[in-house]
Symmetry: C2
Subunit: 333 residues, 2 copies
């Protein structure tokens, strides 16, 4: 009898939750930092179509997978990707242990404060800077290093913590999707860098972060197991690597994807693939006043082919300046 009573309570409780989440006019207006322009309308229309029981476009909750790029989509990326700033800061911290860096590029230029010189070596130079600062320690040690940095480092022009440089409308979008049964993932950036703050800042747990990674090695040190970060690339979660990483990690087609640069193009194409209603959105950085304005000619977060594809395929494009009431949780930069 007791069991029946509690089963009944459980069913009743579940029903009440369902009612309170879906009752029209009751829930808070979604996406308050979005203007009532076409992107917001497109998002809400998409979510309503796939969540409406009995509709031909209905998607079961388990299949409501949404993937988000990080840099330039969930947080800012100017004047340079924040994870690179972390790498540069680490080079300075580690320099005393590496006297050879004084004459060795790209370290020498970086240590002299000549960022342009340091980056003159292009991608190989950047790869070298990232590799030396992201290896040679255990995964636990790296987590601690990133945690300390992210808690204190300040953005060069706004003076804000990097975790404050997130887009308020996108935080609302993440929450709105989750309230509608979606599972939200980040795909992009360094997996063990983003995991340090994503749960607290985006509400996305470590197991829902897909990203670039270095190789790891399991070792026993004095009988204690640990994972060493090796100076070797494991996977580059960018461009054609994004759908690969998403499939490996999630094993389902996303039905919605959100990006801002050419590096996200294949992820957006992949999300659009398959039967049923799909959603692809591009954040276009158009607000030089409140954030930054850049697209086809930017070396950071270039949006060129992606903009063409969005127009050709009818993807939703967010014009930051016109579509977002607020940019950052603290207002504008």
């Amino acid at each position: 009898m007791k069991t029946h009573w509690f089963n009944w309570l459980r069913i009743a409780a579940a029903a009440l939750i369902a009612i309170s989440w879906t009752a029209p006019g009751v829930a808070q207006e979604p996406l308050p930092s979005w203007n009532d322009t076409s992107p917001k309308k497109a998002i809400v229309a998409f979510v309503e179509r796939v969540t409406k029981q009995g509709s031909p476009d209905f998607v079961p909750a388990a299949e409501r997978i949404a993937t988000f790029d990080n840099d330039g989509t969930l947080w800012a990326e100017q004047p340079i990707y924040f994870q690179l700033v972390f790498a540069f800061d680490r080079v300075k911290v580690l320099a005393p242990q590496h006297p050879e860096w004084v004459t060795m590029e790209p370290f020498a230029s970086l240590l002299k404060g000549d960022l342009k010189g340091a980056l003159a070596g292009g991608e190989p130079a950047i790869f070298q800077l990232v590799t030396v600062t992201h290896s040679g320690m255990t995964t636990d040690e790296f987590e601690k290093i990133v945690g300390d940095w992210i808690a204190t480092a300040r953005h060069p022009t706004t003076g804000r913590l990097y975790t404050e440089m997130v887009y308020q409308p996108m935080l609302e979008l993440l929450a709105y999707l989750r309230a509608n049964g979606f599972k939200t993932f980040v795909s992009g950036g360094g997996i063990d860098f983003i995991r340090v703050f994503a749960e607290r800042v985006y509400g996305i747990p470590p197991e829902q972060i897909v990203g670039s990674s270095g190789k790891l090695k399991f070792e026993l040190q004095d009988g204690r197991p640990l994972l060493m970060k090796l100076p070797e690339l494991n996977f580059n979660d960018d461009k054609a690597g994004k759908p690969v990483a998403i499939q490996m990690h999630i094993g389902r087609h996303p039905i919605a994807a959100f990006g801002n640069s050419d590096g996200d193009l294949q992820m957006l194409e992949w999300a659009r693939q398959g039967a049923g209603v799909r959603f692809a959105l591009v954040v276009h950085h158009t607000d030089a006043e409140r954030e930054w304005a850049y697209d086809r000619n930017s070396s950071v977060g270039r949006l060129d082919k992606g903009l063409d594809a969005a127009q050709a395929e009818g993807w939703t494009v967010v014009d930051m300046k016109n579509d977002w009431k607020t940019i950052f949780p603290f207002g504008s930069r």
Copy 2:
């Protein structure tokens, strides 16, 4: 007012669910297929310690990560790993397209029905058989092939579907852990093979399957994006690879791990690492009547170092014969 009313309902509903799940003596007795021997007691004691609010051993739900090996831990693995049977069956299906296999080992022996001859080449031969049968198609095509096979193929001695050859006590354990806020993961076997049935059979969604994988390549065919499975190993989720795969995929230390062979040893060690209460369990195949009895000298699912480690470190060892009332959902083999 309406909002308040619904918020109140939601809080009340959540409270009712919490009560109905935790009220002592009310919930169904957990793990009904487990005898009241030490493994069941150890599992229940562990779960109660980490879920008791205010206890020094309390672990927040988000950190209750449990990882399970698949072959020999969640389903049987005798007389040979089931995914290998799938590969062998596929070789037979594909043989007409590969006339060269008639004289080429290990295919020639396999096609003549000489399994021992086919496996004489050891791991390289097995790798070759797996590679040709797990590549050269899209991820969607592979999912369909596995789905068709798993729905119809029968175990050679029991005549049962492979998805019936799962351990009833482990299904109950998965459900019990999830009812206590754990997130359950599979780590082991081929990631895109296991994903096909894990949600239906284990209640574990694709994104919570960690496993071995081949490389994938993103392609556009007639403008349609797809992922091709390449004949190249991406990651071998076994032995020292298991903690690596778990860290890459989950990004948190598991607090509980479940295995049955030496291939799981490092995963079990990894789960035991770190502060707080941890749990490691080894399924020991001791029941020649109802299942199979094998350990230190078996070529399939060898448990040698793992058994020593379990004894030395005080891990929980399930003696299948004495600790499990039922083996398979349908009874015994």
